[in-house]
């Protein structure tokens, strides 16, 4: 209530105060408008609008809108967005004016880096910390594995983002687990962000227009995951002309086309990607591999309709499918998403957005083994609706308000025999249902020329709905099937359990000088869906579950502080950010927990808490023939599970490092563009501390078999990880006649062929032996590749 009141005041009072000030001092007028992509007409979010002659400036909001209030006069206004040509306009301001600007993409290889943390002005100017932007058109110069530009692999170069191993699915942000990242593709949830287990990201870079990762300072419109938000936007088709992009690499090909449906009114984009790994498997002299197959595809479709200047409708569809066969067992998993959004502009200051979104993730395992032939299915499905608005009443406020609701339907797993002689019984766990809702209000406030704030408040609620059967366990004993004392049945349409809470979000920026600023932030996140996984790396067969009587919502509180300094008018930008995070209601697992097809799953789960803290240092040279960045991150991620009885504790109830705790990380990236701008050399280097593992300390003989006894959890580390990649991109001459623009990229992944440990595991050389430590290096050699990319 208090925060709400403060928010209300912050919206109302400064406005009145500002008007009062205006009356008392001098007359002011507002220049406002929208900054859009010239080709796609898509709003450019976070573009900067500056007056080079003064230190005044603004950045565009989520609809591309901006506003600046100035005394009457003549101004030169500069519009910048990373990857786009800057535009400058002279504005005679004798009354309120609207200036809409369309920026064009830079046509030659860009000078900026693969990963631009923020445009240089935004480094100091922007309110937010912990926000990373990725430019899809420069992905090809990033770390490509077998020539495939990869958004998630590029994210792993960023400070504060790591994973348990190269090629593992998902990523960890500031000490969060892989399920704590909200991954939105055009606003639809992605539940398993990987093809072929982590080797390829699920996004076709050619149909992506914008990638933003919020590690902290998460805006109030996002919620539902504890650690981060990754927003990937699908591009809007060109309304004026037909065109396309594509690429051919050794094991994948991709193609996208776009163009007008009705000139200036409607456009489409279509994209597809296909893998052909099997020739590689057949080429290896190994009968097991030759009997295996692996393939994936993904397809994107987008339609944009702009019937009038004030109305716009976006339709989006996405399908990703993986199919892997090993011996008698076939695994398939697929994501099917779709959304429709209507945006309406009222006047110059009010944008309304209505959106409906659908996400579906399912996997199927089919075993053809005669006596044990079975089919296993699992699925999560989400229907989401939201109504949002952005109001820019004056140049000091941008207010976002919205309502969101999502209905989740989960089949945690069912299995049935698929041959008449199969010994497998039909078995299913109960479906789970829940409604996740939220309301939010947030205001970007320019308090003074030096001080800006974003105050946001989100209220979220989760209702676990029926039909459901909840086992009630005796409260004073460890949960196990024998301590079930009751079963509570909830009928369809009834509510089994409700959780709710406030999620305050605060960001403050104080400009110390033109070139430096200090920022602080706080955010609380609540997570109501949990990925139940006990493997080191996430699997496509892991199952999401709703919060219920025993799985409490995960709650993360993060405070962060940062110092941002530019040098030489933004030619060099630097930042230091520090954060500390507390996480409640983490889920951990009893040793030997059964996670699939378990009706008493809650008996195998443990409740814990977590803490994560770190410092991220970043420097980037943004201009000149040689550009590049260097970052160093110190971070820790720890957990504590201290239940009432020994079986409910891990490591005796002490803090222990999480599987993805990697304290030191160094990332260096450099791009050199010589006198001929068509050739760009790129180098990436990354170093990370090895992740912790549990190791054997002694061995015993049990029934004539040697058995190892292990240490307490995660007490030693696997060897450190480091890798260098090089690439050369050559843009061929544009053949104007056909409008064909092509390039070759030669990339070398893991240049010095280091056998980085993907994992150290304890395996047996043969039956009856004690487990021995083995190092598995998936990418343990040099991977050169040549990719042909074209655009027309």
């Amino acid at each position: 209530v208090l925060i709400g009141f403060v928010l209300f005041l912050s919206v109302m009072l400064p406005t009145r105060f500002a008007h009062a000030q205006q009356n008392d001092t001098e007359e002011r007028f507002t220049v406002r408008g929208r900054v859009t992509d010239a080709q796609e007409n898509r709003p450019l979010v976070g573009a900067t609008v500056t007056l080079p002659a003064s230190d005044r400036g603004a950045s565009t909001d989520s609809t591309g809108a901006y506003a600046l209030s100035l005394p009457p006069g003549s101004y030169t206004v500069k519009y910048d967005f990373v990857g786009y040509e800057s535009e400058t306009r002279v504005v005679e301001l004798q009354a309120d004016r609207t200036v809409n600007v369309r920026l064009s993409k830079s046509t030659v290889s860009l000078d900026e880096l693969l990963i631009t943390e923020e445009a240089s002005e935004r480094n100091v100017e922007s309110l937010t910390m912990g926000v990373e932007r990725l430019e899809p058109q420069s992905l090809e110069r990033g770390p490509t594995f077998l020539g495939e530009p990869d958004i998630i692999r590029s994210l792993l170069q960023l400070p504060g983002v790591s994973s348990v191993g190269e090629g593992a699915a998902g990523f960890n942000v500031r000490g969060g687990s892989v399920d704590q990242n909200l991954i939105l593709f055009d606003g639809t949830a992605i539940y398993y962000p990987s093809h072929l287990l982590g080797f390829f990201s699920p996004f076709n870079a050619d149909v992506v227009s914008d990638v933003t990762l919020y590690k902290g300072g998460i805006p109030a419109q996002y919620g539902g995951r504890a650690a981060s938000v990754l927003r990937v936007e699908q591009k809007v088709g060109d309304r004026d002309r037909y065109g396309g992009r594509g690429g051919v690499s050794p094991i994948t090909s991709r193609l996208s086309v776009e163009g007008p449906i009705v000139e200036d009114k409607a456009s489409f984009v279509l994209g597809g990607r296909l893998s052909y790994v099997n020739w590689l498997l057949d080429a290896v002299d190994n009968p097991n591999l030759q009997r295996s197959n692996a393939s994936f595809y993904d397809a994107n479709v987008g339609v944009n309709i702009k019937p009038t200047e004030d109305n716009e409708i976006d339709l989006m569809g996405y399908r990703a499918y993986d199919d892997v066969g090993i011996s008698d067992t076939l695994f398939t998993y697929a994501t099917t998403n779709a959304s429709v959004e209507w945006r309406h502009l009222t006047g110059d200051s009010f944008v309304t957005r209505l959106k409906g979104a659908f996400s579906n993730y399912d996997f199927r395992v089919r075993d053809q083994d005669r006596f044990e032939a079975f089919t296993l299915n699992s699925q999560i499905r989400t229907y989401k609706a939201k109504a949002e608005a952005t109001w820019t009443p004056n140049d000091r406020h941008t207010v976002d308000i919205g309502l969101q609701s999502a209905y989740h339907e989960i089949n945690p797993g069912d299995v049935a025999p698929n041959s008449p002689v199969s010994d497998v019984d039909t078995f299913a766990t109960d479906n789970e249902y829940g409604i996740e809702s939220a309301a939010y209000l947030s205001d970007n406030i320019t308090v003074t020329d030096r001080l800006s704030a974003r105050l946001g408040l989100r209220f979220s609620m989760f209702n676990q709905t029926g039909p459901s059967n909840t086992y009630v366990y005796a409260s004073n004993r460890p949960r196990n099937p024998q301590t079930i004392i009751d079963t509570v049945t909830t009928e369809s349409g009834e509510i089994a359990k409700t959780d709710y809470g406030l999620e305050p979000r605060v960001s403050l920026r104080y400009r110390l000088t033109d070139q430096s600023s200090l920022k602080v932030g706080y955010n609380r996140m609540r997570q109501y869906l949990h990925l139940i996984t006990n493997s080191t790396a996430a699997l496509p067969l892991d199952v999401w579950h709703v919060s219920d009587a025993y799985r409490q919502p995960q709650i993360a509180d993060q405070v962060s502080v940062g110092y941002f300094q530019n040098f030489d008018d933004g030619a060099v930008i630097t930042s230091v950010e520090a954060y500390y995070k507390w996480i409640d209601n983490l889920i951990d697992y009893k040793p030997g927990a059964e996670l699939l097809l378990n009706r008493t799953l809650n008996a195998d789960l443990l409740n814990g808490i977590g803490r994560a803290y770190g410092v991220e240092m970043f420097a980037e040279k943004t201009e000149g023939q040689l550009t590049g960045s260097i970052s160093y991150t110190y971070s820790r991620a720890e957990r504590k599970v201290d239940g009432a009885t020994p079986i409910q504790r891990i490591n005796g109830g002490d803090w222990y490092p999480a599987n993805y705790d990697r304290p030191h990380e160094i990332s260096i990236s450099a791009t050199y563009t010589g006198d001929d701008p068509r050739a760009a050399w790129n180098a990436n280097f990354v170093y990370r501390t090895g992740r912790p593992i549990t190791y054997p300390v002694s061995k015993f003989v049990v029934d004539d078999r040697p058995i190892a006894q292990y240490s307490s959890r995660n007490q030693v580390r696997i060897p450190d990880y480091h890798r260098l990649d090089l690439s050369l991109r050559l843009d061929l001459e544009r053949r104007e006649k056909r409008g064909w623009n092509a390039s070759w990229t030669l990339s070398i992944y893991n240049v010095y062929g280091r056998k980085n440990a993907y994992s150290v595991f304890f395996g047996r050389k043969e039956n009856g032996n004690i487990p021995q430590p083995f190092r598995l290096s998936i990418f343990g050699t040099v991977f050169p590749s040549l990719t042909y990319t074209f655009e027309f």
Partner: protein
């Protein structure tokens, strides 16, 4: 139905192979760990329904980096007592060699529903005690049968148990086996034919199950043991099966042992973990012994295996043992429990 864990692992392992083999990188490494803790005591044993003798084995463990040979030292001078808590009956378990301690037959007649523990006093005055276990009801084996598996390099005969799982009981099972093979023995002169008998060990499977998928049903086909088709199965082969019902804690312990034995170890596997048993160090609860002392409901069944009954399995040719008497674990003396006869004459 089998547990779903194994296939849960197939997928990633296979796919890792797909890429791992192409870049070809699995090496054994040495791990730099801190100095190992002094090897603790290991305790394994059980009390079952019936007169016994009930047995427990005491040994010292070896540090992980050491060779196991000669380090799993039997403990021979401990004082061990089995206690039936309801009646207060205490039965001394005396050392019978190789760290094996046994009660006298009939000293305690194990009964389902009663609670048992053991007390161990070592020569260095350390005292250990097992957490009490209440004996579950035994579940009788209805029958044992074989399914041949010819997909492996060496064909396997999978011995499976059929039983009637009682509804509502805890429903935790473990199978132990003793395998004995009979081999034709051809001394000079060739007549008359002789046999000798050998011990085929405990096998590689730790067979545990719970009735999550078959509570209250007739369970047909729970794997007891896989027997590779070799010269040992070419004549007669006897499997003595003990079907044991366990408490939940004991099942959890053996399940973790089974997981460790079967675990291939990949980043997609659950991380390995310390296995906690039920042996408490009375003077120092932070330094427990490794192992488990169970109260089990036990039913026994003997199964005679004849590889010739399974046409899909390639029959091994005879390899008459000419040196029966000189082989270890092979004897020309017929074991007293031997019940099977050869279907084929040498």
């Amino acid at each position: 139905m089998r547990s779903f864990d194994p296939f849960y692992r197939i997928f990633p392992v296979g796919l890792l192979l797909v890429f791992g083999v192409t870049s070809g990188c699995i090496d054994e490494i040495s791990l730099d760990t801190s100095a190992p803790a002094p090897p603790p005591l290991s305790v394994f044993g059980s009390v079952s329904n019936g007169p016994g003798p009930h047995e427990v084995v005491l040994r010292r463990a070896a540090a992980f980096e050491q060779s196991l040979e000669g380090n799993a030292t039997p403990i021979t001078s401990a004082e061990v007592v089995l206690v039936e808590e309801e009646t207060g009956t205490r039965a001394t378990m005396s050392h019978r060699g190789s760290g094996r301690y046994k009660t006298d037959e009939g000293a305690i007649v194990g009964a389902p529903g009663r609670t048992y523990h053991i007390e161990i006093a070592l020569a260095d005055d350390k005292v250990f005690r097992s957490r009490p276990e209440t004996m579950p009801e035994p579940v009788a084996i209805d029958s044992l049968f074989v399914t041949p598996d010819t997909t492996e390099d060496v064909a396997q005969l999978e011995v499976r148990s059929q039983f009637d799982d009682p509804e509502g009981d805890p429903g935790y099972y473990r199978w132990s086996t003793r395998a004995t093979f009979q081999a034709p023995f051809l001394p000079v002169p060739l007549n008359p034919p002789y046999y000798c008998w050998g011990d085929d060990g405990v096998g590689t499977d730790v067979a545990v199950a719970n009735d999550r998928f078959f509570d209250g049903e007739v369970r047909s086909g729970e794997l007891v043991r896989s027997i590779p088709v070799t010269e040992k199965t070419s004549s007669a082969y006897q499997l003595d099966v003990q079907q044991r019902t366990l408490t939940e804690d004991a099942h959890q312990f053996w399940k973790l042992i089974e997981t460790q034995i079967e675990e291939t170890g990949t980043p997609f596997s659950p991380p390995p973990s310390a296995i906690d048993g039920n042996i408490v160090n009375v003077g120092n609860p932070d330094a427990p012994a490794f192992g488990y002392f169970s109260a089990v409901g036990q039913s026994n069944e003997t199964f005679c295996l004849n590889a010739g009954n399974y046409p899909s399995v390639p029959l091994q040719s005879y390899s008459p043992l000419n040196d029966c008497g000189s082989r270890s674990a092979v004897s020309t003396e017929r074991p007293p429990y031997w019940e099977c006869s050869s279907s084929r004459n040498p």
